[in-house]
């Protein structure tokens, strides 16, 4: 039974979690979280908790899928059974299959695959706790893990989801806004190349709202990028694992 729709923006223009429409959730980045992965990060964005591990470049198995002129990427976006309210089966859902592809397509432009023909770089994105915007949060974390692994990159990619709730465009959707809002638009952006490498929209919005949302998302991605850069630089200065806590 659909109850009265939750009010997603209150009289003061604030959202269910108290944020302003263009406010990002607090971000926490812990690089090198896993000791045996070549690169890794534990990434938190609000209540989203995502673990990413990177391995490679290494030999390809089975050999027949290797490419003669570049490395291939293997990307797995997966949600843990306990990451959502109703337990989710561990078997990959259609959504996870599509999102693994969408995230891989967003990472291909930044990895300099031509440097390592006949090898594979594996990227595992494990969503431990989901609260909206997980595909772009996973992608932002994957860029950090790739850099942590020393995989040569053309640049970093960062992303966030915008949405439309109660007629207002908002940045960095949380779970309720994603489920009960009118539209959900994840975007990922490569700031140093000024290019969008992930873009989807699900819902109903006018063309003007789309334009507004895209600009908002790019702006949010740039702010996330600044946090990625700060986290990577500070790891260099302190080789021991260092938690970097940032708020927006």
């Amino acid at each position: 039974m659909t109850e009265e729709k939750t009010k997603l923006i209150d009289e003061r223009g604030l959202r269910t979690d108290g944020r302003k429409p263009d406010e990002l959730r607090p971000i926490k980045i812990e690089l090198g979280y896993l000791k045996h992965a070549d690169g890794s990060v534990l990434y938190e964005q609000g209540k989203c908790k995502i673990l990413v591990a990177v391995f490679g470049p290494s030999e390809v198995h089975p050999k027949h899928i290797e490419l003669p002129d570049r490395a291939i990427l293997k990307v797995r976006y997966h949600m843990a059974p306990f990451s959502v309210d109703d337990r989710k089966s561990p078997a990959p859902s259609r959504r996870e299959i599509e999102l693994s592809m969408v995230v891989r397509n967003a990472l291909e432009p930044i990895v300099i695959t031509e440097l390592f023909p006949r090898t594979v770089v594996e990227i595992f994105i494990e969503v431990l706790q989901a609260d909206g915007g997980t595909r772009v949060a996973g992608l932002t974390a994957a860029a950090l893990a790739l850099a942590d692994a020393g995989i040569p990159l053309r640049g970093l990619v960062a992303g966030c989801a915008v949405g439309k709730v109660d007629g207002t465009m908002v940045l960095d959707l949380n779970d309720i806004e994603d489920k009960e809002g009118d539209a959900d638009m994840p975007v990922a952006y490569i700031p140093t190349m000024n290019k969008v490498s992930l873009l989807q929209m699900d819902g109903l919005m006018t063309r003007d709202e789309f334009r507004q949302g895209l600009s908002m998302a790019i702006n949010g991605s740039m702010r996330l990028y600044a946090l990625q850069v700060a986290a990577l630089k500070s790891k260099y200065n302190q080789p021991e694992n260092q938690e970097k806590e940032e708020t927006q």
């Binding site: 659909t2 490419l67 293997k74 959504r95 190349m193 929209m201």
Partner: protein, 271 residues
């Protein structure tokens, strides 16, 4: 796991020819930059399906069959019928399609067609609820890609909408909890006709409805689905590559012009 697939080798000569033509706003098959290939539509060709359509866009052929059954609603939408979309990239359609369970491309296609139809509210799902919370009609949209020559996205969305347009639903009477077919059929009345437009990009140039060679050479793709009012109900940047946001905005407007043309050609609008 999603794994990088090899891109079919496109000869350097062909690639160069494509780029040269694009620089002069021309394409290999003589089309303008933002022109669809020839679109052919045939509906009602499958007698065992409640609705069907075969659409060709250039050399790409997609067949959609609609079956309508009875089932229970999803727990979070108890007063709505169920809409479910599946897509098969048949091995006979392309050397790059293999037999087996749906791969990521067919899943992505099915989910895009689903979003285009669902978010545009083209189908009145509440009208499909025979007994709220218990018994609803289930609309199965099965997308069969028969021949792949580029841009199966727009072709599939068009075929799905045309198939729904000519779908007839069984009318049921309820005796207690048991639905019985009354013998009558009623057309599924669509409330909107979503149209998808897909662009490829090479450098600064964008081109509508990429054919196969253009798809192999493109640096990025984007699809927009519009409602008849010009709102967006689905957007997907597809495949590898990237786009600048100014390109995204330009194509957004061109896409709407083209969607209106399709709408007129299909008699969905009179303007």
């Amino acid at each position: 796991m999603s794994v990088t697939r090899d891109r079919p080798v496109i000869s350097k000569v062909l690639h160069q020819e494509l780029m040269d033509l694009l620089a002069r706003d021309k394409r290999m098959d003589g089309r303008a930059l933002h022109e669809f290939r020839k679109i052919e539509v045939e509906t009602g060709l499958l007698k065992k399906a409640e609705g069907s359509a075969l659409v060709s866009v250039g050399g790409t052929k997609v067949l959609v069959g609609i079956k309508v059954g009875i089932g229970s609603p999803f727990p979070d939408t108890p007063n709505q019928g169920v809409l479910t979309v599946n897509a098969e990239l048949l091995p006979l359609a392309s050397p790059t399609f293999e037999a087996g369970p749906p791969d990521e491309r067919s899943i992505a296609l099915a989910r895009y067609v689903d979003r285009s139809i669902r978010e545009s509210k083209a189908i009145d799902l509440e009208a499909l609820a025979l007994q709220p919370r218990k018994i609803v009609q289930v609309v199965y949209i099965d997308v069969y890609v028969l021949d792949y020559s580029g841009n199966m996205t727009d072709t599939a969305v068009l075929a799905a909408v045309k198939a729904l347009e000519n779908t007839n639903l069984k009318r049921y009477t309820l005796e207690g909890d048991v639905p019985t077919f009354s013998g009558e059929f009623v057309p599924l009345a669509l409330k909107d006709y979503p149209v998808s437009t897909t662009f490829g990009i090479i450098g600064e140039k964008s081109f509508l409805d990429p054919d196969l060679e253009e798809e192999h050479a493109a640096e990025g793709f984007i699809s927009y689905t519009y409602t008849q009012e010009g709102n967006l109900c689905a957007v997907m940047k597809n495949d590898q590559g990237y786009l600048s946001h100014s390109q995204i905005f330009d194509m957004l407007d061109i896409g709407w012009e083209k969607a209106q043309e399709i709408g007129r050609a299909m008699n969905w609008r009179k303007d």
